[in-house]
């Protein structure tokens, strides 16, 4: 699948309406280069309320794109507008924007409360204390608010950054790898929070390089590869496209040859080859991974073969992207 839509779907378009109003976030033919290196090339999309994931492998250009969306970096060509305003030209646009940056450093001498107060004051919140308490509760940090940020764990710093981005209740929220550093319980809470923000009608744009992470909160996906918009649309549509392509699965068992032969016979595999790097391993190429995952345990039981491991060899995002980005490679 090459680039599909050039925009995530607007609410009006979804309802079949012909009169679309302006999208809150518009990226119009944006490119960015540093010397001879092209970081982002001719990217064009719109984002509407809800959670949209900016998905791409490390170095794909998604952080550069996020910086252009927030105005930290100016595009070499093209324009980025937030609520109709070119983002680099006005500071008032930041009343509507909250940003959770990827970098961890926060002023270490400040307490969590003081850091949030700095953000609330600069965002000119009308009731500063109430705003701070609201976001402290959102990220479950009220008990740690009086501790210095320098003493926080990575997960706590991540959560206080999220609180700071939300302290003025912005309508547009950008998050750069927001789940990084969170423990499993905190990840669940953060994912719930991201979904809640989307359900409240906010535009939430989350950058991530982890596909399995994105599918838990994003309705829309923008896939960035090599600085190009490789695909965009609903998560399900992109996932289905990925599933249409052959994928490689490693199966480690007590009898790999028998298992491989049977899978070929049953048309569950396109090809099978012994993995020389793994004793008992066989690499199966399949068009229908879900069916394969269901068939293998039953087959092993029938053949009286012991299974030790089944795992996809190309579930990494870089591999997944290769399926959706043939046209841009």
């Amino acid at each position: 699948m090459a680039a599909t839509d050039t925009a995530t779907r607007s609410p009006q378009a979804a309802q079949g309406s012909t009169s679309e109003s302006s999208a809150p976030v518009r990226v119009n033919q944006v490119s960015k280069w540093y010397g001879d290196v092209v970081a982002v090339s001719q990217v064009d999309f719109e984002v509407w309320p809800g959670v949209t994931a900016l998905l791409g492998p490390n170095g794909s250009g998604k952080t550069t794109l996020l910086k252009m969306l927030t105005g930290l970096t100016g595009p070499s060509t093209g324009t980025v507008t937030i609520n109709g305003t070119v983002v680099r030209l006005g500071s008032d646009v930041y009343r509507d924007i909250g940003m959770v940056p990827e970098q961890e450093h926060i002023y270490p001498f400040m307490t969590g409360y003081e850091f949030l107060r700095l953000n609330a004051v600069m965002q000119r919140c009308s009731d500063i204390d109430a705003s701070i308490l609201r976001v402290l509760d959102l990220v479950e940090m009220r008990d740690a608010a009086d501790r210095k940020v320098g003493e926080y764990s990575k997960g706590m710093r991540q959560r206080i950054k999220m609180a700071a981005a939300l302290v003025h209740d912005p309508s547009i929220v950008f998050m750069d790898e927001p789940l990084s550093g969170l423990d499993p319980r905190q990840r669940v809470r953060a994912i719930d929070l991201i979904r809640e923000l989307g359900e409240q009608g906010k535009v939430v744009i989350v950058s991530s390089h982890l596909l399995h992470e994105v599918q838990r909160f994003a309705e829309q996906v923008l896939v960035i590869v090599n600085g190009h918009l490789a695909a965009s649309g609903s998560f399900r549509a992109i996932r289905d496209k990925i599933d249409e392509h052959a994928r490689q699965i490693l199966i480690v068992s007590s009898s790999p040859r028998r298992l491989g032969a049977s899978l070929l016979e049953m048309n569950q595999a396109i090809s099978a080859r012994i993995d020389p790097a793994r004793e008992g391993g066989i690499i199966i190429e399949s068009n229908d991974v879900r069916a394969l995952y269901q068939a293998v345990p039953k087959l092993a039981q029938t053949l009286d073969v012991r299974l030790f491991e089944i795992r996809s060899l190309d579930d990494s995002l870089a591999s997944v992207f290769s399926y959706v980005t043939e046209a841009v490679r």
């Binding site: 910086k67 930290l72 500071s91 646009v93 940003m99 926060i106 002023y107 004051v121 600069m122 500063i128």
Partner: protein, 247 residues
């Protein structure tokens, strides 16, 4: 001025006071005090505050110590935000970039001036107490020259920190080679140094022959040049912050 009305000023002041570089600033500002104490021990009650403090301020503080203090503070005011990648917390706000520059710059002047003046006041007080006469003109000259020097140098080094990453090295070379060496001994270059106008103003306020400055600039000229240099570098810093790509 509360922390809510000028949050970046207070943030920057805390960054200065809680960082390690403030100790270096204090050590530099304490050098005249140390020299004063040595002079006091050597001369006893025969000490001449105007001659001793006036000379050391003109020959050491203005060309070297005050620029170094301004370099440390001016370069870190925004430079540390860039290297620590905390600047997005300030620029992604409905807060003009000129306001950010102004508050950062104000913190540089206030902290740098307070530290310089406190140590200047101490050495002045000790020497004057030993001599038995309090020279108000000398104190005024020290205060005015300190504030204007830190303002002009601070603005220049703030701008430099937005242009290059090795600002301390570049600033050090500028202070030691240009301001302390070339501009002191090459007559034509003298007029292109901040130091010359601070020294001219210092000599004017002292109003006697204690300090003499070659090609001394008039009071008005010195004030205009120093304020213009400060203003130009503030505007350049603002323009640079508007245009630069941030991490």
């Amino acid at each position: 001025m509360s922390s809510d009305s000028a949050p970046i000023f207070w943030l920057t002041a805390r960054q200065f006071l809680e960082g390690r570089s403030i100790r270096v600033v204090a050590a530099l500002a304490a050098v005249p005090l140390l020299l004063g104490l040595i002079e006091l021990i050597a001369s006893g009650s025969d000490v001449d505050p105007r001659n001793m403090l006036g000379q050391s301020f003109n020959e050491l503080s203005i060309p070297t110590l005050l620029p170094l203090i301004a370099l440390i503070l001016g370069s870190s005011a925004l430079g540390n935000e860039i290297s620590d990648r905390t600047l997005p917390y300030l620029v992604l706000k409905p807060w003009s970039r000129m306001r950010i520059i102004q508050e950062k710059f104000l913190a540089t002047i206030v902290i740098g001036s307070i530290i310089s003046i406190v140590f200047g006041f101490l050495v002045w007080g000790i020497l004057c107490a030993a001599a038995g006469e309090f020279d108000g003109g000398l104190l005024l000259a020290v205060i005015v020259a300190s504030v204007l020097a830190i303002a002009a140098y601070g603005a220049a080094f703030t701008f430099l920190s937005l242009m290059i990453t090795r600002v301390l090295m570049a600033g050090l070379l500028y202070v030691l080679i240009w301001e302390s060496l070339l501009a002191r001994f090459i007559p034509g270059l003298r007029l292109l140094s901040i130091r010359h106008y601070v020294q001219s103003l210092f000599a004017h306020i002292l109003g006697d022959a204690t300090v003499t400055v070659e090609q001394q600039a008039a009071v008005g000229t010195s004030l205009i040049v120093l304020l213009a240099v400060t203003l130009v570098f503030i505007v350049l810093s603002w323009l640079r912050l508007q245009q630069m790509d941030l991490d």
